[in-house]
Subunit: 599 residues, 2 copies
């Protein structure tokens, strides 16, 4: 019998064993008796079904597996519970949970997720191809299926920022030969695709030539020629739709509509009406999370939450489950490998006591019970990241308050400055203009506008880009710093006190990255993220508690935004309008041009 | 612009061109304006749709392709006609039409078939791997998509027959690297799969390792442990179901239910009720023909006939079309290559004036109009088979009447002989026993029983196996000989006159194979099949006319069976019960044992 966490041998190498078990010549490892079979192929619930498992794969699914039972066979009485395929998350970023792949698995397996398609593009921006390889190799060590989508757009906006690394089509072609690479991660540079940029054509064609799936990301509501050009450019799915018509448009073009419910994405309810109201064939719809914070994983769930939500939106439970199992497997060319409870497939399944509520009693992968009653039933060894993945906050030296000083031009008494306007509950910012006072030759924030700085942290250039931001509501001397700063992941510092800005930045340099908040000279909260400055190596429950403390500390400083930390970490995302900060300066994303701080 | 018959470059190599056309930077080769878009992804008919084609692939599908039109663009006004993806035949044998791949294409393209998945297992039994390669290479030369399934069971029953060649897992693994091999042809030896025979495990695992599709053929109505063993053994589809419960059982096991309407197979009507009555998800149903005679192709149609029939059985037309397009493409891993009218896919489509009747006005493949109003619009060059594919009737010499003489044992006046009992409209035969008279020391047929002989024709062994058959009804001195004799394709001669038996056999030796009927010493009909003794090199209309003349000649000799020629050609098929003839003797297929002629 294989070790519990080993990936099963390929079906091709297990034919004799599976046939022997199915025909009763050999005993199964595990038999589940008397289940209601949620059959995602036929779209039925088949009562009174027995399931036999051998070597981590289903060998027999039918009315009576008595002939598969031997002395050593573990027999489970389902007593009429539903047997459901393990859930798949078709597109997600582990880094959003601020934890490692291992800790992410530990958090989500009890929620029924047994297959993940992860796009490690955050670590790629910090560590390049070796960073992708680290998460790829950690993924292989997991007790369930974690496939990797090769990041396609590193950096996200060439010319407007310098990330820690760059990935070109050569790196992409190289990665396509790695064992756990399942395709290309979301092709975010949709203008580049529609314009036939060398970078995007190279990435997509290398993936197609490898026979793998090209992930999409068309983040515009305008379905004009650029959209049609994007489709012709090859992406096979898209999770950026938000409206019913977005889902319909994608499906009609032969793409899969990936409907997203993350911590901050609520894109299922509107789009699922394409199925429930318009009768569009559900086979081309796939559910995913994209980004989940640790708090969501700990408190609300993962793919179980998405499937429940889809059912709550009026979808038939079996169809909702198809969208998180078979449809996903088919999309990635894995229909014979996972995604259904049928012979030959990896024995990933859930025992569910209430199908409509998706009440998960136990979670099995590769024939091994991994979780029961919402808790892990096995111990996952923690995965040790090498030193090369740590100590990535590479600053030229400690900073001082004067590094954040913004000198006024021409001895003026006031200046008109461009200000990044944070908008509650929205990723886009506003490009504001504000008259700001000058004291002792330095421009100061006022009326809710405070300072923001981007601290270069990949190549120790010593560069600090200073600017202004409004909307956080800080009303005491404080500063928050984060090395999570999509997508280039320099360090973003936002503060009302230049002294605290320096303290926060230096503290992150000291611990190797994370998020910290200083007020009145004291550290009020800290989430250490030593791995690439993006991920903790602690369990998600601890990370969630620390993140909760951070939110409380922000509120204590006057911040009244719903998702203040997310807003903070997105301020350098120079692909979403309107005004952003990068290591090259302020960027107007409406025109994709660098602009001056002062008008 | 590529030559009309060239296969388009891969999508990966055409990204720039397709994107340029979709965005209007480059003119399309072809634009169809104002069509009703039968969208097999969404399951809708979308009105007022324009389609742009470039380099043989769809570049744009949407509300207005005006921006894709340039001076050289061919513009077609659809005037509200439906645009339907070209139809796919998911499993078929070209040899059943008695014509070459080229002539088969010439016959079926006007009926809307633009993708065929052919299993050349007849020629494989005669010529082995080189024979498969010949048809494979002819397939590549076609103006539309002809993929090849590598024959899996050559010979069909090792030990019970000697075919002209044998294919083992080494040959199968070799063929998997050929450009047009799409998977493994129907795995007919289902007892071998369930018994883990080395041959079947080797064939299936070689195909799985190549990442290709394993075709199934479980020809038993008993869905017991052997069925479950077969499923665990890897076949991914099955076209041998005949009842609704057969289709449901296969789909539940994660196989595709292939529903077959051939010249003599009527398996759609009963099984489609799984969808129309039981609400089984139609995505796992696929339509195919398996075997079509030239007469059917000429008079009734091909996949258009199957789709029409499915609609007549109560299926929604769009769902019926999905079963002959998208579902097939997905099954073979070709969803991004063909099977829908969407960007990137091969521009294979039909313009249809009546969707419910599937009235096909024109047929396009790779952006070229191949047929219009039921006739080819382009000239297909005939494909020259090499000398090695001809002259395959390799007998030791001419035969004489005495070669067909059956001596009675022991000077007896009568003998009790085993007789192959042909049953009207059924493939299985009966194992009969009959007391037959002896004249001049030779056993003679009477009361509707006549002689049958299997003449070894692959290796010039001179072997003639003589036996008796009943059911044909011949009542004059005559004999019919055929080198189509599934699956080993020796020569079968059935006759009431030993002289005519010899004449018919020698005539086939002379012409290199085919079917001929002699009566009273004269040739009454002949279908020459010089290619492997299985296929004519003439058009299917001529072959159909000759075959019709053959049927008339059989009737003139007293034969009153519906499908007399098919019955004749199946009498050596030693995998279907009950009694068959092979080059090793009489075979009782109930026990898979050789039996004596006399009891």
């Amino acid at each position: 019998m294989p070790l519990p966490f080993d990936k099963p041998a390929p079906w091709s190498a297990m034919i004799r064993q599976l046939v022997d078990v199915a025909t009763g010549r050999k005993a199964a490892d595990l038999v589940v008796k008397g289940a209601r079979w949620v059959n995602v192929h036929s779209g039925e619930v088949v009562p009174d079904t027995d399931i036999a498992v051998s070597g981590g794969r289903f060998a027999y699914c039918g009315p009576d597996a008595s002939h598969c039972i031997g002395k050593e066979t573990q027999v489970i009485e389902a007593k009429g519970r539903h047997i459901v395929p393990g859930l798949c998350d078709a597109h997600m970023h582990v880094e959003s949970g601020m934890v490692t792949v291992t800790e992410f698995c530990r958090a989500v397996i009890p929620h029924g997720t047994t297959s993940m398609f992860i796009d490690p593009h955050e670590i790629a921006n910090v560590l390049g191809l070796p960073g992708v390889r680290l998460m790829h190799d950690e993924a292989i060590a997991m007790p369930t299926n974690v496939y990797v989508q090769m990041p396609s757009c590193v950096p996200s906006a060439p010319g407007l920022e310098h990330a820690g690394a760059e990935l070109g089509s050569e790196e992409i072609a190289e990665a396509m030969a790695w064992p756990n690479i399942i395709g290309l991660g979301e092709v975010m540079d949709f203008p580049g695709v529609a314009a036939n940029s060398n970078r995007m054509v190279g990435a997509v064609s290398a993936t197609m030539e490898a026979g793998k799936t090209v992930g999409g990301h068309f983040a515009s509501p305008v379905l004009d020629e650029m959209f049609h050009g994007y489709v012709a450019g090859g992406p096979a799915d898209d999770h950026e739709g938000t409206r019913k018509e977005d889902a319909i448009a994608r499906v009609r073009q032969g793409m899969k509509a990936m409907l997203r419910l993350g911590s901050a994405w609520y894109d299922v309810e509107a789009q699922i009406k394409a199925v429930t109201e318009d009768g569009i064939d559900p086979r081309n719809f796939i559910l995913c999370t994209d980004d989940c914070h640790s708090g969501t994983l700990v408190n609300d769930g993962h793919m179980d939450r998405v499937v429940r939500h889809a059912i709550d939106c009026g979808l038939d439970p079996v169809i909702a489950i198809q969208m998180a199992t078979l449809n996903t497997a088919e999309h990635f060319g894995l229909e014979r490998e996972l995604g259904s409870v049928t012979p030959g497939r990896s024995a990933d399944f859930l025992l569910v006591s209430d199908l409509n509520k998706l009440t998960i009693d136990s979670v099995w992968s590769r024939g091994v019970k991994l979780a029961e009653d919402g808790a892990m039933a096995v111990n996952l060894p923690s995965y040790a990241y090498p030193a090369s993945a740590k100590g990535t906050v590479n600053m030229a030296g400690d900073l001082a308050a004067q590094d954040f000083a913004i000198s006024a031009p021409d001895n003026s008494a006031t200046v008109t400055a461009r200000v990044i306007g944070v908008v509650e509950n929205q990723a886009p910012t506003k490009a504001l203009e504000q008259i700001l006072p000058v004291r002792d030759g330095l421009v100061e924030g006022e009326d809710g506008t405070c300072q923001i700085a981007l601290v270069e942290r990949h190549h120790a250039t010593g560069k600090v880009v200073n600017a202004f931001v409004s909307g956080f509501g800080y009303d005491t001397p404080c500063a928050m710093a984060s090395t999570v700063a999509h997508d280039s992941h320099h360090m973003i510092v936002v503060g009302t006190s230049r002294e605290d800005m320096a303290r926060a930045a230096n503290r992150l340099r000291e611990v190797g990255g994370g998020v910290t908040l200083f007020a009145d000279g004291e550290e009020k909260a800290m989430v250490e993220m030593p791995i690439a400055g993006l991920m903790s190596d602690e369990p998600s429950s601890i990370v969630a508690a620390k993140a909760e403390k951070l939110v409380e500390a922000m509120a204590a400083c006057g911040c009244n935004l719903n998702n203040a930390y997310m807003q903070h970490s997105l301020l350098a995302l120079v692909v979403i309008p309107e005004l952003r900060i990068s290591d090259v300066g302020l960027v107007d994303v409406r025109t994709f041009e660098k602009v001056d701080l002062f008008l």
